[in-house]
Each structure stands twice: as structure tokens, then as C-alpha cells.
């Protein structure tokens, strides 16, 4: 049986890890390579690096960063942020990343997912979806693009299903309503997407304490949970979180019962 994955997410701006609240109010959280290596040693199952600037020059910096991370980190890591072409994916994967995540570019050009999956294999392709609860209907969510700044007409659940058909190997599902709030994940959203697709779904946005991860796995049916604030600023360690989950019967790797 697969273990549930705990995945720290490192938002990168100007070669530093930052973390905001609902995509705004950024705060410095350290050096990406150091933090990545620390998480790997502590027993994180995977890492995600997101280039939140997503410009041509920041993409170059990210490729250099990926090379440094790959020299020091021996767990899988995903890189995302502003990726638009198969060539850009190739550069990032060649620098040592294991997966690339695509968000805006996939909405604008869904064929990109298909092209990428055929070239690199589905297991490399993460479809990142930024979801915002619909004001009209509480059980519907709207896909937002361009770092959440632009709402689209895409429905999140329908887009997730379409993404799977096109070849995405995994979905990174971020709730814009809960991101950075430390008040818990949007588990209605997580459950709705998890029930609709057959590929793994990573729940993201809102973890403030270990209970929240438990709820995302049990109530949200998530295969993996993304975390940031909860561990970046030293409130909890990966070990503490895994012990909490393991003690409650969730299968996790590196679980130490004592």
C-alpha cells in the first residue's frame, strides 16, 4: 500500500523561499537549497518548488536552483511556475527535477498536457489547479490562472477530469480560499476532485496543524498533502506531523511510534 505523502512546498522569489496569505503578503522563509535538504533529512516524502515570479529571467534562476537542489536532495521534487513549453519542461527535467507542474499554460493550451505526457511520461506531469469557491454555488469551484489573479470559466472538477484524460499524472489542487490561512484545507473541494479522477490528488492550501492534514486525508480523500507555513516557520517538524498521522493509523513513511 502506498503511504500518504507529506510534501513541503517552497514558493521561490529572488532565490529565497517566501510564503504569503491567500497568495499575498509574502514573508521570507529561508534559502531554498538549505530548506529543501533539511526537509529531505527530516523525512519529507517529496518537495515542490514554485517560481512565483514566473518571468523569463526568474526561469533561468530556477534552472540554476534546480541543479543545486538536485545535488543535495535525494527525494523527488516538482518544479512549477510559468512553464509554457515542452522545451522549458525539458530544461527543468534535465537539470534534475522529477516532475514539472503546469497551471496557466495548460488552461490556455490543453494540448500542452498531451504533448508533455507523450514526451516525458504522465508521471512527470503535474496539473496544478488554483481553485476558488463559486459565490453562486458552494459546491462548485472556479479555475483561476496567472497566480490566481484571473478567474476563468473552467469548472475545477471538470477541468481535473479533462486534465487526466489529456495525460496529467497528478493533480496539485490549491484552494485559494484557504491558502495560507492555517485554518484547514477545503476538504469539500478535495473530496469532489478526488472522487472524479483516478490520478493522485495533492491537497493544498490551509494547513495550520497536523489535524488539518489528517482531515484532508480522511475527509478530503487526498493521496498527498502540501504544506508550507506549518513547517517553514518552525511551528511543527515533519517528524511531529508523521507521528501524529501514524499514531492515528494513516500509513506514512519514516513513522516512528515511540
Amino acid at each position: 500500500m502506498l503511504t500518504k505523502r507529506i510534501i513541503p512546498c517552497l514558493d521561490i522569489k529572488d532565490n529565497r523561499v517566501v510564503k504569503g496569505i491567500r497568495f499575498l503578503n509574502l514573508r521570507d522563509a529561508g534559502d531554498p537549497v538549505e530548506l529543501g535538504a533539511r526537509y529531505s533529512d527530516e523525512g519529507a516524502d517529496e518537495l515542490v518548488f514554485l517560481d512565483i515570479m514566473a518571468t523569463i529571467s526568474s526561469r533561468k534562476t530556477i534552472v540554476e536552483l534546480v541543479e543545486k537542489v538536485a545535488e543535495n536532495v535525494f527525494i523527488p521534487f516538482t518544479v512549477g511556475g510559468g512553464i509554457q513549453t515542452v522545451e522549458q519542461m525539458d530544461a527543468i527535467l534535465r537539470s534534475g527535477a522529477d516532475k514539472v507542474s503546469i497551471n496557466t499554460a495548460a488552461v490556455e493550451n490543453p494540448n500542452l498536457l498531451e504533448e508533455a505526457a507523450q514526451r516525458f511520461g504522465s508521471q512527470c506531469i503535474v496539473l496544478a489547479i488554483d481553485a476558488r469557491r463559486s459565490r453562486k454555488s458552494p459546491s462548485r469551484w472556479q479555475v483561476c490562472i496567472k497566480a490566481g489573479s484571473e478567474p476563468t470559466n473552467f469548472d475545477v472538477v471538470e477541468w481535473a477530469v479533462k486534465g487526466e484524460e489529456l495525460g496529467a499524472g497528478e493533480i496539485l489542487l490549491t484552494s485559494m480560499d484557504t491558502d495560507g490561512t492555517k485554518a484547514g484545507y477545503d476538504n469539500k473541494l478535495n473530496k469532489a476532485v478526488n472522487k472524479a479522477v483516478n490520478i493522485p490528488v495533492i491537497a493544498s492550501g490551509g494547513a495550520g496543524k497536523p489535524e488539518h492534514l489528517y482531515d484532508a486525508i480522511v475527509d478530503g480523500c487526498a493521496d498527498a498533502v502540501l504544506i508550507a507555513s506549518i513547517t517553514h516557520f518552525g511551528n511543527y517538524t515533519i517528524r511531529q506531523i508523521k507521528k501524529y498521522l501514524g499514531d492515528r493509523g494513516i500509513p506514512v513513511r519514516n513513522y516512528l511510534a515511540h
Partner: protein, 189 residues
């Protein structure tokens, strides 16, 4: 992959050159790609790798590189593999999450030297949608449980393969690579 070998103190070279391949103590066939793309990228080196492996030099296939050791694959069309081990690459049966993505527990048989000095079972990182249906009876196989016994690693004399990613499986993964390096230099005997 090179980073991981460097990390454990191995002299490793990423090469497409026949001479380098012939002179190496052992070969690693990595792979992050769809099967068809990977096997066509190998081109004329496929024959050389086969020859070198059949001459007795240790060969380690990883993920798609492992899948290429077998006869054929049905990932995005039918593709011929190296045919070093009997069996085919087929889709993971429906009824579970696909890809098989994440850390799964592998039972490590004592007689597989790739896993020497590791415990009886260890978590390794997997990321794949196809798996090797092994029909070769001259193999040793390590399995993981994914609702069925999924082969996680195979050995046929000097030919080794792992479906998981040792270079991404933390300390246990690095140990597997170290063991392979020892097999190459003959230190394990």
C-alpha cells in the same frame, strides 16, 4: 542520477560513446521518459548495451530503463525493448490509482545482492503507470503490494532492474546504488 552516484563517491560518466560504454565496470540505464521516446533515443546504442550486458558486465536499469530490459511495451503504441529478460511492459490494471505514485514498501529477498545490508522491507519511491509482467523463470524478483504483487526489482545473473527510483528514495535508495557499485567493482564477493 549522476548526482546520487557522485554523492556515494562513485566515478560516474553520462555517455553516448561506445568506447566509454565498453570500458565501464558497469552500466546504468536510467530513464525518465515514455517508453517509445526512450528506446528510440537509445538508437544504435541498444545493440551495444545488449552485447555488453550479455558479456557479463553488470547492468542496472532504472524505471523506464528497467522496463527497456524486457521484450516489448504497449505504452503509447507497441515498442520493442532490449529483450534481455523475458516479459512485457503492460498497463497497471484498473481499479486503483494510476500512476502508482509515491512510496511503497518493497519486500527485499535475502538472495538479491542489490539489497544486501538493508532490512527485510523498505519504502522506495515509485512513479509509473506500466509495469513488467515477468515471464522469465531465470530471475529473482522483489515485490511490492499495490493490490497485486507488483514486481519492484528483478535480477537475472548480471542484469539488474528496479522499477522504483533509487536515486530518489532517500538513504535506502542510495544504499541500493552503493550495492550496485560494489557489484561492479567485485567488492561484494
Amino acid at each position: 542520477m549522476c548526482n546520487a552516484f557522485c554523492h556515494i563517491g562513485c566515478d560516474v560518466k553520462l555517455s553516448l560513446e561506445a568506447k566509454t560504454i565498453e570500458n565501464a565496470a558497469g552500466l546504468v540505464l536510467p530513464g525518465v521518459a515514455a517508453f517509445g521516446y526512450a528506446i528510440s533515443a537509445l538508437g544504435s546504442l541498444a545493440e551495444l548495451i545488449k552485447e555488453v550486458a550479455l558479456s557479463g558486465k553488470p547492468l542496472l536499469g532504472i524505471c523506464v530503463g528497467y522496463q527497456m530490459l524486457f521484450e516489448q511495451s504497449s505504452e503509447y503504441g507497441q515498442h520493442k525493448g532490449l529483450g534481455l529478460i523475458r516479459g512485457n511492459i503492460v498497463p497497471i490494471p484498473a481499479g486503483r490509482r494510476i500512476p502508482h505514485m509515491g512510496w511503497n514498501l518493497v519486500k527485499l529477498p535475502e538472495d538479491m545482492d542489490l539489497f544486501s545490508t538493508l532490512e527485510k522491507e523498505k519504502h522506495f519511491y515509485f512513479a509509473h503507470s506500466f509495469y513488467a509482467d515477468i515471464t522469465d523463470n531465470q530471475t529473482k524478483i522483489a515485490y511490492t503490494d499495490y493490490g497485486f504483487d507488483l514486481p519492484a526489482s528483478v535480477q537475472k545473473t548480471n542484469i539488474y532492474g528496479v522499477q522504483f527510483h533509487p536515486e530518489k528514495s532517500g538513504k535506502a535508495g542510495l544504499k541500493v546504488l552503493q550495492n550496485f557499485a560494489k557489484i561492479c567493482t567485485g567488492e561484494n564477493n
